[in-house]
Symmetry: C2
Subunit: 332 residues, 2 copies
């Protein structure tokens, strides 16, 4: 009999379809002939040497020995416009905001053919440090209410450029989904006098079956109601609602945790396409008791179809406990 599990944060129900369940091995990416990529590609706007011609402007640069390690640049085709005022307009059923905001690209490495999982820990630390700096800088802009840091890896995850990069979008509005989740997590806090994320983390550590790996400050685990195979959360152990408040020590440790987790995907599932996102509180809300920032990784190995689009419920054809055990056992 399948099981329908509830995600305690979102209250969403997920069908764990045991009768359709596959073995974790079945989700491995099938690799045709793997394309051999060069370290440098002359048409790539993110490759070193091409900066001045293709991507001159930059908002942040982390250097070592006079060479950049990480660069952050404005997106050439931004979803939101940097200049302008935040205006709201209601006109009958038409409610709109001016599309002001920031949209930047984090070039994660000078190497065109690298992949995030294989970067040295120290390098991942630079990337996370660059996220923190831009996050806190963008948060000072009065028009900004929310900052979303995310990565699209591979075609199924929505990327078109191969050179390793992530993105930061700062929006002039709090997404409705975030507000709706806050209603749930705030209610949980009011009833239990504790943060639901802290509670989940404590229970998961006690149970152990869904843990992928632990480091000093972070824990990677498969959620009890994972929405799709190998969906993974990385929670900081310390309660904090904003990614902007991450400490130096936590930056260093998140690099370790994220690298190990991504390596497990890379080796265990043959470098699957995936998205990751840092879920933080709105920029104007400081030190919330009822929200806890975290990283969510969603491998894109199954497709969202009509049922999911039409109900908001998900069907997961893999058992979270099996996914966690499989990842724990991947040797890296």
């Amino acid at each position: 009999m399948p099981e329908i599990r509830q995600n305690l944060v979102t209250k969403d129900w997920v069908i764990i379809a045991l009768e359709r369940a596959k073995r974790p091995e079945d989700f491995k990416k099938r690799i045709k002939t793997k394309e051999v990529l060069p370290e440098y590609e002359k048409k790539c706007p993110f490759c070193p040497g091409n900066e001045s011609a293709m991507a001159p402007e930059e908002t942040l640069r982390i250097e070592k020995n006079g060479k950049w390690q990480v660069r952050i640049i404005p997106n050439k085709y931004p979803a939101l416009s940097k200049a302008g005022e935040r205006l709201r307009k209601v006109d009958g059923i038409k409610r709109r905001l001016s599309g002001v905001g920031l949209h930047e690209v984090v070039i994660e490495t000078p190497l065109h053919n690298m992949t995030t999982a294989l970067l040295p820990e120290k390098h991942l630390q630079c990337i996370i440090e660059s996220y923190r700096q831009r996050y806190n800088e963008m948060a000072k802009d009065n028009r900004i209410e929310m900052i979303i840091i995310f990565k699209n890896h591979g075609e199924a995850a929505g990327t078109s450029l191969i050179h390793p990069h992530s993105q930061i979008v700062a929006t002039p509005v709090v997404p409705t989904q975030v507000r709706e989740r806050f209603i749930n997590t705030q209610k949980y806090f009011d009833e239990n006098l504790e943060c639901v994320f802290c509670k989940i983390l404590a229970e998961e550590l006690k149970d152990g079956t869904r843990i992928v790996l632990e480091t000093k400050h972070f824990v990677a685990f498969i959620p009890y109601a994972a929405m799709s195979p190998f969906h993974c959360w990385i929670y900081p152990r310390r309660h904090s609602s904003s990614f902007g408040d991450i400490t130096d020590d936590e930056v260093t440790d998140l690099a370790v945790n994220l690298k190990l987790t991504l390596m497990k995907y890379y080796h265990g599932l043959n470098d699957p396409d995936f998205n990751f996102v840092i879920r933080s509180s709105p920029t104007d809300m400081k030190k919330l008791d009822f929200f806890h920032w975290y990283v969510s990784i969603v491998p894109r190995i199954t497709k969202v179809a009509g049922f999911e689009l039409g109900s908001g419920m998900f069907i997961n054809s893999s058992l979270p406990e099996n996914d966690a055990r499989f990842l724990r056992e991947v040797k890296i």
Copy 2:
């Protein structure tokens, strides 16, 4: 400057990314060499002649001249189990329901190589009639709270079988997304003493710029805050919260409207992959003033990436008014 538009039903914000905007023509599916398919395929479980060996059981059959036109069968790999009781269990952070429910497949035509858009109107009428019959039959099951009728067309929409088919899933729980939308639409009703869907329909008809086509009982249009290019809603003109209450006359007319709309996609965008879903109220809620059933069509011509997964907001790189004009002008 981009525009951020609010969907009045879901309250979700959608970035209409005008600086990235493409022309409607750019969304046409690129067809490599189109595979020529046979009318009958001996390994297909949905083809006539293969019923007894591969899909003997059926829950509904519509015949003409002794031959079936539409068959509904249980899904061979159901997401939910037909037998069993609906049990709820809370165990700390683990909240779950037994996975009971119904999962059926609607075989839309005996012809393996047909496509829904090209079926005759009369045939589409049989399909919609079969949906209605099964919907009302499933709704009698006391364990069922919600019935989702949907179609996955093409690989990007999540289908693996070519033979034209749609699906019906009946769940033992109301999806959280549906309950959250009800809070919004009920509040709208309380404040304005009218259904928000009726209001949207009236305003869209007055405005005209987002209308795709009108028939006697239904109107197809691109939502003001369409979540992705060519996302389309088909609303019944008559206020009714449940698809189960569709009248004979409306079944006939929905066949006309759906066929014309799908034909416009088929010819205008080169048979794009798409999902459609019928959004109806929970089965136990009858005649709601604040909800209106409708059909939602989502062409799968762009990918959901990290930003959407991480915020619940969407970026639409096409202008709804342009999409509607383009579809209006497609000759069929």
